[in-house]
Symmetry: C2
Subunit: 326 residues, 2 copies
């Protein structure tokens, strides 16, 4: 018998996050002069969702361990949230703002999401950031001084793929995923669709799956817009899912359901599996098939939102230098 | 027997729209110098929905009858829409842009809606306009030179209520609905919720009904924000609906279903009934109960979007005067 250990590896989000938290700590040190107590992140919580509560606790822990002040503002009355966020938009001491969704649990949440000023939107949920993502636009200004922000969960997945060396830095910039096929099970406006676009913009072929249909995102021909192209592959069927999954180097799941499990037998031997749902969308047996398996991504997402906050602070400082107050 | 005719009246949207179309014609005449062929409205259509098709036909007819050029841009491939709208945002000759929804029929439509530049958004769907509506903010700038736009359907209902003299101009400005109770059956982010807020901001008590629950919008105590306050009245029940409806001076329906009918027996004798759904949400017997009945509102909505376009043109001209090109 061979003494080889099992070929696959499970990679924990904490290991991946560490690369970025180290970077954050050193940037916070550079900010010591202007912000001796560290920058301030404010979270808004107006639900009793235990998942949101846990997310808030983790954000607080991570922030404080890195020298970032964190303040949780809790509301019983959801209708007070909007005005309070607007106040925080205008508070000089507040560097970043995030809301723990769901608040209303319907389309009103999309309205609320846009209330956070884009200068403090650490999660990168402002329409401007999504529009830039889809159009592969990296800067907010024509002079390319102010970097755009990416929504933190899609960004976390990209950083995970970089860590896992699925992004190949030998390939030309902007083409690091050339030749790779990825599957994304989720097409929400918050994560799944922007993620598929990001991966396609970096050169991958992406199968985007939702309950209704299957789409294929590629960079396509339209160099004119240097952005992805979407092709409809018709209604969702298990057979299609299976045959497409077997082509894929990477399978990324984000189904918000405790009972959903991606069928292990659909995973190609040696594929890379990543789950960003707060529920485990893969059975443990996936470890016998996947070369690399990342069962949860939350800690990388938190690292990304703190990284976004530092980028927003940099942008604000550049703007202040340009337009000194009288 | 009395020779009195039936006391109620049915008012057609066309009569109400006429007040505004006359105003539009005279403003178009004032623009003759800069736009000898009339301003240009561009509609984007990428579905086969007959209701959208009809809406487009009516917009074209109305526009052209008033001296406004109208151009319908049709797309088979929905994915081309976004880039084409961005092009229209940048076309100097285009004064107004509108999209016929649904396009994707899911949350991606909300993304698309925000792609239209707010300077050309005749329907008033940009987040800035909704945020101003909820906060009772009438101008886009601190100098109060640039008027904000209101979303065209909620605005149409307000104009209908003015025409019907439910808005009482003897009351102080901003309080024209003081003492009135209104019911709005629909709490979409596009029409129902903003409409309830608008009416509450003008002094009414508004019961906002959706399938899940009932809310009461009032201006409330918070003069600080000069905006409405929302109170939760619990789950929807037929009994609650009935007893609240009997208090109401105005019942406004907007249920997007052919089978839904508001129970005529819930309408108080002499109430005013308005339906903005493209399906008739009232049975014809309502004419025997309602003092004033407006069975459809689409023509007023079209008048409002053309009125919005003129306001956007005014704003653009004011901006051009302030910052002459070098």
């Amino acid at each position: 018998m061979s003494s080889l250990s099992k070929p696959g590896r499970t990679i924990l989000a904490s290991s991946i996050a560490k690369v970025y938290t180290d970077e954050i700590v050193s940037k916070i040190a550079d900010l010591k002069e202007e912000r001796p107590n560290g920058p301030l992140l404010v979270g808004f919580l107006a639900n009793n969702d235990p998942a949101a509560e846990m997310y808030a606790t983790w954000t607080q822990k991570t922030s404080e361990s890195l020298g970032i002040r964190y303040e949780l503002r809790r509301f019983e009355d959801k209708d007070l949230l909007e005005e309070s966020i607007i106040e925080a938009n205008n508070e000089d001491s507040v560097d970043g703002i995030m809301i723990y969704f769901p608040v209303f649990g319907n389309a009103q949440d999309q309205y609320l999401q846009q209330i956070v000023s884009k200068e403090k939107d650490v999660e990168g949920l402002n329409h401007v950031y999504y529009q830039n993502l889809y159009h592969n636009v990296r800067y907010l200004d024509d002079a390319k001084q102010l970097k755009s922000i990416l929504p933190c969960t899609p960004l976390a997945i990209v950083k995970i793929l970089e860590y896992l060396k699925i992004y190949n830095s030998l390939l030309p910039y902007g083409n690091h995923l050339y030749g790779k096929k990825c599957m994304v099970i989720n097409r929400s406006e918050i994560v799944g669709r922007p993620l598929a676009a990001l991966l396609a913009n970096d050169g991958a072929i992406v199968y985007s799956i939702d309950i209704n249909n299957i789409q294929k995102f590629t960079r396509g021909e339209s160099i004119q817009y240097s952005r992805h192209h979407v092709e409809d592959l018709g209604d969702f069927t298990q057979n299609k899912l299976k045959s497409l999954a077997q082509e894929c180097d990477v399978i990324i799941t984000g189904v918000p359901s405790e009972s959903y499990k991606f069928p292990t037998e659909y995973v190609r031997d040696g594929a890379c599996c990543i789950n960003f749902s707060s529920f485990k969308n893969f059975n443990d047996e996936v470890k016998n098939k996947a070369s690399l398996y990342v069962p949860m991504t939350g800690k990388v997402t938190i690292a990304m939102l703190l990284r976004n906050m530092l980028r927003l602070i940099e942008n604000r400082e550049k703007l202040n230098q340009e337009t000194p107050s009288n």
